[in-house]
């Protein structure tokens, strides 16, 4: 008996966005991940490698090694990650953290501008993670980066107002972060949108967990959000950002050099980050913020294969 190929008739699509002066396109798919046989997936998943504006404190040696000569120089580090093949640079403004250097908004904005001017790929700027402080520094950063069409985050329910207003005014995009709940993701997108920032200037971050550390929660949220987007819910149709590196490199399986029963650290650590990324790729994420260049390389090799046609 011949098989009648089962195709879903999706009625809508994920928002398509274009970052940076280069116009790097993300999103726009009209079907679930890699089901090319029933819809269009016009843009591939994009990767960003992280750059810290001050030396990171918790990087294991294996993660410091590829950046050893640039780890104290964000501009040189950013150039290096472009050489390593990242589609975007994700600059993390940790120096602003009250427990780190408590750097001022002006200081971090200066670094952000210098990095943006030194690279020919779009920039993602991530605050220090303290909501209040990010609410202060990111508007100043947004102003300094006028024209760079950067992706700025993370915006939360507690600090979205000041950051959204600045991102809107200076022509940027925002990353909306809410904890592991599809309704919270939706709500924050709506709140930001109500301030006048179009939905196609937002990407959302469902606060993912790494492989072995709750990855299945964000996996299912992404699957549900994608089905929502494809069936017409515009407030869930923004591209999805996944902080892969930040989570994967917290895992003991990535960090611990010496656990004989888990095998040598090299492949294990790279696989921890790359598997976390591929898992979210098949769930529907669009932007992958990672830390190790080798994981990015492996992830891209996977995406190359997954993007091949599978039309029947």
């Amino acid at each position: 008996m011949a098989v009648t190929i089962a195709k879903e008739r999706w009625t809508s699509k994920v928002a398509e966005e274009a970052y940076g002066p280069q116009g790097l396109k993300v999103g726009g798919e009209t079907t679930l991940p890699f089901l090319h046989f029933e819809g269009e997936i016009p843009n591939r998943a994009v990767t960003a490698l992280e750059v810290f504006d001050t030396e990171p404190k918790d990087y294991p040696d294996i993660l410091k090694e590829p950046f050893a000569d640039v780890i104290n120089d964000p501009v040189a580090w950013a150039k290096k990650v472009v050489e390593y093949g990242a589609d975007m640079v994700a600059l993390r403004l940790m120096s602003a953290h009250p427990d780190w250097n408590n750097a001022s908004a002006q200081d971090v904005a200066k670094t952000a501008k210098a990095v943006a001017d030194a690279i020919d790929v779009p920039l993602i700027v991530i605050g220090c993670g303290v909501e209040e402080k990010d609410g202060e520094i990111l508007p100043v950063v947004a102003e300094a980066l006028e024209g760079k069409k950067a992706l700025i985050g993370c915006v939360t329910a507690n600090n979205y107002k000041s950051i959204t207003a600045a991102a809107n005014g200076y022509g940027h995009y925002v990353i909306a972060s809410s904890p592991l709940d599809i309704n919270l993701c939706k709500q924050l997108n709506i709140l930001i949108n109500e301030m006048g920032l179009p939905l196609d200037r937002i990407a959302f971050d469902p606060l993912v967990g790494a492989l072995g550390y709750g990855i299945e929660y964000a996996y299912s949220i992404m699957e549900r959000a994608r089905m929502g987007a494809l069936t017409g819910d515009k407030t869930l149709a923004t591209p999805i950002v996944a902080f892969i590196g930040q989570e994967a490199w917290k895992a003991k399986e990535a960090k611990d050099a010496d656990v004989p029963e888990w095998g040598p650290q090299a492949d294990r650590a790279i696989l921890w980050e790359a598997t976390t990324a591929t898992t979210f790729a098949i769930a529907g994420a669009n932007i992958f913020i990672m830390r190790h260049p080798e994981s990015v390389k492996r992830f891209n090799a996977f995406v190359d294969e997954a993007m091949k046609s599978n039309a029947y």
């Binding site: 890699f34 089901l35 090319h36 990855i215 299945e216 598997t275």
Partner: protein, 445 residues
Amino acid sequence: MGLTGLEIFKQLPKKNCKECGQPTCLAFAMQLAAGKASLDACPYVSDAAREALDSASAPPVALVKIGAGEKAFEIGNETVMFRHDKRFEHPTGIAIQVNDNMSADEVKAKVDKINKLVFDRVGQVHEVNMVAVANDSGDAAKFADTVKLVQDNTAYPLLLISGDAAAMEKALDVAGANKPVVYAADAGNYEAMTALAKKYEAPLVVKGSDLNSLAETVEKVVALGYKNLILDSGARELSKVIADQTQIRRQALKLFRPLGYPTIAFANNDDPIMESLYASTYVAKYAGIVVVNSAEPEHILPVITLRLNIYTDPQKPIAVESKVYEILNPGPDSPVLVTTNFSLSYFCIAGDTEAARVPAYIIPVDTDGISVLTAWAAGKFSPESIADTLKKLGIMEKVNHNKIIIPGGVAVLSGQTAELTGCQVLVGPRESAGINSFFKQQWNQ
């Protein structure tokens, strides 16, 4: 499954004799459709009707048992496309491949490695499930020797890979009693392979060159009277495997019977990192069995871990009991850490507290096993539930201080919690990884 009462009614004898305990045949049919009666209650159903109703009431994806003895496992019986719709039932079996071109020593060494791929996680043991033996030599005697060697050295079920029915016959002479998976029946050899599988009641993989040829061969095998099947569409490229696995699951759920069986997917790749990434993808994308070459823990641990995560019941998060947990023999001056009973929250905090070498009490509040932020959003991790738990467990009577530590993510709860409990509420780190520095900065002073 899937049949309406009326569809079933059409197959019944319509005698309305009440012997089934129902007033009419139609009433009995409605009970059957609701799953509240068994066809056996009617003594008059014809064999033809029984056959039709049995196959119509078969699950969308057949349940297949693999192997014999302690390491036997089941695949199939899946009912959804997405784990959030219900859950994935039977975790993918992971098979690691050896072949009969390897020397006896090489085979033994690799099987030893496979036997040691056992990992402990959150108090549970996770392991691989099968050893695949490939007849790469093309020689029947060599194949049988290798199969014997593997069987003598492992308790895991075997997956026998040969397209040559004569070689398969020899291998089954050796291993058939343990119900290995027979790989594979294709359009050319299905009669001989089906006869062999039938003889040993061993699961048989049917292999196509695409979905159409797969469905056709399945129908031919079923016509020979064998239904203990596993499907291989023949796809090996990542994107084609994703498409075929998705199609097979969709077709099965639509009750297209020729594809209503669990599947096998081959991730084998000379590059073990890519192999591991492909294997993980097939675990998430519906494979009943996934086959790899690498037996190295660094390549297998990620796949086993993802399997554990994806096959967790989303409606029933893994929870720990809400009780007083003592880390490193705490005493009256030890800190009291409050969290939720989501197992991962608890185990992260327990692990990081231990690593910080600070004796402490951990108090998981019963939030039905959901995580701190989700439980807070759902109102299950609240000043009230914290106060109730502290009181119920009597923890504050065990210590000589009045302080509790709550997770940083729910700092907003501190005011009201202090009011309700009468405790001094310290706000801990957002992530358990910050516990060490928290203790240093805020507890020891």
